[in-house]
Symmetry: C2
Amino acid sequence: MARWEPDAEGRLIKAAFVLFDERGYDDTTVTDIAEAAGLTKRTFFRYFTDKREVLFQGSRELQDRWLEGIADAPPDAPPMAAVAAGLTGVLALFADRHPFARMRSRIIGANPELQERELIKLQTLAGAIQDALVDRGVPRSSAILAAQTGVTVFHVAFAHWIGQDDPSAFERLVEDTIAELRVVIAPARTVSRAGRAS
Amino acid sequence: MARWEPDAEGRLIKAAFVLFDERGYDDTTVTDIAEAAGLTKRTFFRYFTDKREVLFQGSRELQDRWLEGIADAPPDAPPMAAVAAGLTGVLALFADRHPFARMRSRIIGANPELQERELIKLQTLAGAIQDALVDRGVPRSSAILAAQTGVTVFHVAFAHWIGQDDPSAFERLVEDTIAELRVVIAPARTVSRAGRAS
């Protein structure tokens, strides 16, 4: 029993994603996942506490990678540059996961409970980035603003990335999103026609 | 039975907040709240489905007010100007609620489950703002960016507002926060000393 299975974790993740996507998250059990992966339930529970964790195990890696990038940024880098350095590390993580990311997004989009969990994970990530910036000496409110902005940019660029077909476009989409954000929050030259001299 | 109680809802909210703050959220029951307000449990349940709802009943009002402000913005207002118009309406709502807002913030800060609920409410608000912007013809990604930025600015300015003693300072703090955000996401002139000619 309990013998070593080559890449059991990867097989379980793959089997779970395919089943969640085809059959629906609610209608897939741990038994189904283990069976489809050719493994036992016992093996499943060696890697995951429940089926939901299969979808969110990547969040930890994403957060670690982002924080490593911030830690490696020069000490005098402005907060947003440090956040961007972290995000660059994250993008490398996604390079070969385009079909996988698309599938995950469909699964989560189909289930309100999973959407709620995803929001909480993103906010946990924002909180961790914020703490890392505060530890670098960034004032708290700038740290919150930079962390939230980083996570929002990631979220928007991610949606663009899975909505198009080029897996290598993520970095460009992040840059486009930052540029778009600068336009969005630029001071308005005129709020309405009523304010213009006519 | 079930006779009309003058401002029963207000009395229940006030009693609940004082108890949550003094005794802790988990250690306060609906019976305690009704008793402290001099009302019955039956009356409590005419206004709220559970004790948590007492803390979050204001979220609906906040969202309605924000969306009204967006609806009233000139049709050609840029997305962020529309979001700011909504936020101005929200600020009026808070003008006389400074001590109340402080108490609520302490209660939520002391309880991880409530913090999670608060995050979800803020993201629900961001989603509603985003939809309102899309309905105005704003492209989806600009709508997400403007909505998220609006909610983040609100969140940061709110923390400043309850952290200081002037109840009338909210609008100024919002303006300061937007100014700070523009600085945070401005293109970095130089990322590190290593990049400078020495």
